[in-house]
């Protein structure tokens, strides 16, 4: 590091920032001081970058879809990959810029105040936030939500690794409850040329089977209205494969979440509560994106293997329960995950206590 950033130097107050850029470029020359003399080559930067790469297909598809949906409402249903992508890219890019500038500024500032190294966690959070909100969200709202989530969901708890809830989802929840008009209903999901020119609707906001007529495959591929990154189950699956292959995210949570959704969906089908076949829940709305990228956040999910099954199942089951039984709010994934985040430590506590008391019983006193 340059001398002025070191202790006693003029710019010492910027040392966390300088350090962040330095370690971004180079693996630092730090050596082990105590404990194990050699360490695994893995670090948090690598894990975050893998998670980020996993979300790229969904993001790229999402950008194209923004353009496609826009032109579709104008009556132009051609695929036009470069043109539609470019249109969407220009719409989404400002959201990314705002998210990263606001979030990283707060992150760098707090690291500076605490005298710690800057944590990479926000790179992932910041990548996810634009993907789970409607593309029409005003930029100042995006900034406000990001600031709220980074400060009140993360930094007050002590930074990345200490938070209880997934920061990206808290940003979305903030928007959802503070500005419901912009965040739900039929009008927010498509980048429109002007106010009230056309209206589209997210399928879950509609009631009755007729609207779901487009079928499983359409939703699986994802050229439908919705938040930027959530529509294409296919692209999300690509990311899921990478996450499972590298072990960055837990396949158990994903599997359990799918099982939970199918179970409640099936109950709904059999009792006639819902007219949607249970498997459709897997491709509709934010379920797939939430299951793969949000529920599996290692910080806020369950720590124990058994806990992961329970936690994942709760998410899937709650999500579909909200979808089926709550007419006022068509999408349940966000609240399902936040609620499961809240109970994750409790689930772990039950699992570990049960395990330990079982272990103690096996040993004769």
């Amino acid at each position: 590091m340059l001398k002025i950033f070191e202790k006693g130097g003029k710019l010492y107050w910027l040392h966390s920032t300088a350090d962040a850029f330095e370690t971004f470029l180079n693996v630092p020359p730090t050596v082990t001081r105590s404990g194990a003399h050699v360490r695994d080559a893995i670090d948090l930067k690598r894990i975050i970058i893998i998670a980020l790469i996993a979300a790229i297909p969904a993001a790229l598809f999402g950008m194209w879809n923004v353009g496609y949906q826009h032109n579709l409402t104008l009556g132009d249903g051609r695929l036009q990959i470069p043109a539609n992508f470019w249109y969407g890219f220009l719409k989404v890019l400002p959201i990314y810029i705002v998210t990263y500038v606001v979030g990283l500024a707060i992150e760098f500032g707090t690291a500076q105040i605490r005298g710690e190294e800057v944590n990479e966690g926000f790179l992932m959070t910041g990548f996810l936030i634009p993907l789970i909100i409607p593309v029409t969200t005003p930029l100042w709202m995006v900034g406000l939500a990001t600031a709220f989530s980074v400060i009140f969901c993360k930094e007050v708890f002590g930074g990345t690794g200490m938070n209880i809830w997934n920061p990206a989802l808290v940003a979305r929840a903030f928007l959802f409850f503070s500005y419901p008009n912009q965040m739900s209903g039929a009008n927010c999901w498509i980048a429109r040329p002007g106010p009230d020119a056309v209206t589209g609707a997210t399928p879950l906001a509609l009631d009755g089977p007729a609207q779901y007529g487009t079928g499983f495959l359409d939703y699986f591929i994802g050229a439908v209205p919705g938040s930027v990154g959530e529509t294409s189950t296919l692209c999300i699956l690509l990311g899921a494969f990478l996450l499972i292959w590298t072990g960055v995210a837990s396949w158990k949570i994903m599997a359990a979440s799918i099982a939970g959704a199918l179970a409640v969906g099936l109950v709904g089908d059999l009792t006639g509560v819902s007219a949607i076949p249970c498997y459709m829940h897997l491709v509709l709305g934010g379920f797939a994106f939430g299951t793969v990228f949000m529920a599996t956040d290692p910080v806020t999910s369950c720590q124990t293997e058994c806990g992961k099954w329970i936690y994942g199942f709760i998410i899937g089951a709650l999500c579909v329960t909200v979808r089926l039984f709550n007419p006022g709010y068509a999408e349940g994934m966000m609240l399902a995950i936040l609620l499961a985040n809240t109970f994750a430590p409790l689930i772990d506590e039950c699992v570990t206590s049960r395990h330990i008391s079982k272990k103690n019983r096996q040993i004769p006193a």
Binding site: N26, V27, V38
Partner: protein, 453 residues
């Protein structure tokens, strides 16, 4: 033969520099150090002055809390210097050895004809008592305590560890005598852990007066703490003693010859070791006396007394630890690596994580250096990320966090009685957040010692 206990979790770090099974040197050190810092829970009181003459087996340091526990000189000679650190903390007593070694004569004895009350004073007076380590907490054993059982691991699974079959196989008789001595100290028997691949070829499977347990698996399968947890886990109120096979042999020699003889074969290992092989040495030998194995006055290398996971960085001015029969020589990794974490493939780096690809080439050996490969962060990954390298029925991350919080109830619940820092060394190795897990556990154990005393 007992049933094989299969340990699924664990990790053998593939390092270069395994020692060839030949003894290439007999070290005659210019000075030998007795380091009370090797013994946990011992508050040292000096029993010698500079200039005093000592024999091999003469008392040098006693424990303030229990003056019966003493450390003896491994060699005969003159006390050269007393090394002290901050606040006059006693670091080491340096002894210049005589050309010809003279021993205190403790008289040979047949352990089968002795009782525990006769054996314990012999072990205390000869300074071999501190070989016995008491669990929980890994402190020097309390002579007044009655252990539930005594555990010995007959193999070391740590990276590049010395092959005990080679170093002690010739001394089967001494080991056998040592086992007979230990068997008198407990009603629960002496439990010996064998490694399944060598269980039928190792000389130690012929030992008598002990119970065998055979283990299959990767490191830390050879850690005695892991073995205990699979044979009979330690609960609150239990006392169990453990002893290294080196200590068993030393006790055996004492009863066979009446002499304190701590000489042992020490494996010189590691990627930077020149001609990695075995040397014949005494504990407390200065690392300078094996300078031929690391060259260049130790520039840019780290000399570790013990294994690479839980050994102590001694440096060229340091000494071989009392319990150690391995020296690891590593490169100091104080270099930058441009875009290291961004490169798709880092061919020269080893990682168990599937974010890299070295797990696809399990046959490769690596030139590991001391680079931390990242900066310290809060714990991010799940408990299961750590438990896959810990073959014990505990939750490593929950235990570590309980220690961080200093929460004694939770530390008890998550198994602080069962572990020593060395058992969680691999959790520290794999941690992407680069926390010093062993330090955290050690602090937790210190807290337990203070609060539960």
């Amino acid at each position: 033969m007992s049933n094989v206990i299969v340990l699924k979790n664990g990790l053998d770090i593939p390092m270069k520099g395994n020692a060839e099974p030949v003894t290439t040197k007999t070290v005659s050190p210019a000075v030998v150090a007795i380091q009370p810092t090797d013994f946990k829970g011992l508050s040292p009181r000096l029993m010698v002055k500079e200039g005093d003459a000592v024999l091999a087996g003469s008392p040098v340091i006693a424990d303030k809390k229990n003056p019966d526990i003493i450390l003896c000189s491994p060699v005969s000679g003159k006390v050269k210097e007393i090394l002290r650190g901050d606040k006059r903390r006693l670091l080491a007593v340096l002894i210049t050895p005589d050309d010809e070694q003279k021993y205190v004569d403790f008289k040979p004895a047949n352990p089968e004809k002795l009782t525990a009350d006769e054996i314990i004073p012999r072990l205390l007076q000869s300074g071999l008592w501190p070989w016995l380590v008491q669990r929980p907490y890994g402190i020097v054993a309390d002579p007044a305590a009655k252990p539930r059982a005594i555990f010995v691991s007959a193999f070391d699974s740590a990276p590049l560890a010395a092959d005990r079959d080679f170093t002690l196989g010739q001394e089967l008789n001494a080991v056998q005598t040592g086992i007979k001595v230990l068997a008198k100290l407990t009603d629960g028997g002496v439990h010996v852990g064998l490694w399944e691949p060598t269980a039928s070829s190792t000389p130690f499977h012929k030992l008598e007066d002990c119970v065998f347990h055979t283990f299959r698996g990767r490191h830390p399968a050879g850690n005695v703490g892991v073995q205990i947890s699979h044979v009979a886990p330690i609960r609150k109120g239990d006392i169990v003693w453990t002893i290294s096979l080196l200590g068993v042999a030393a006790i055996g020699r004492l009863f066979q010859t009446g002499k304190v003889n701590l000489r042992r074969k020490v494996a010189i290992t590691g990627p930077m070791a020149i001609n990695p092989s075995y040397v014949d040495a005494v504990p407390g030998m200065p690392m300078k006396s094996i300078a031929g194995y690391y060259g260049d006055a130790g520039c840019g290398v780290r000399i570790v007394s013990g294994n690479v996971l839980s050994g102590k960085a001694a440096g060229p001015e340091g000494f071989l630890g009392f319990f150690d029969d391995q020296v690891t020589i590593l490169r100091e990794g104080d270099e930058k690596e441009l875009f290291g974490w961004l490169r798709p493939i880092r061919y020269k780096q080893f990682s168990t994580d599937h974010c890299y690809f070295s797990w696809l080439t399990p046959w490769r050996k690596y030139d590991l250096s001391t680079n931390l490969h990242g900066g310290p962060r809060a714990f991010i990954m799940n408990d299961s990320y750590y438990s896959k390298v810990l073959p014990m029925d505990i939750y490593p991350l929950f235990l570590t966090k309980a220690c961080l919080a200093g929460d004694i109830d939770r530390m008890e619940k998550f198994g602080i009685y069962e572990v020593l820092p060395e058992d969680l060394a691999l959790c520290e190795f794999v941690d992407p957040s680069k926390n010093n897990v062993q330090d955290i556990i050690a602090k937790g154990i210190d807290l337990m010692l203070k609060e539960m005393a």
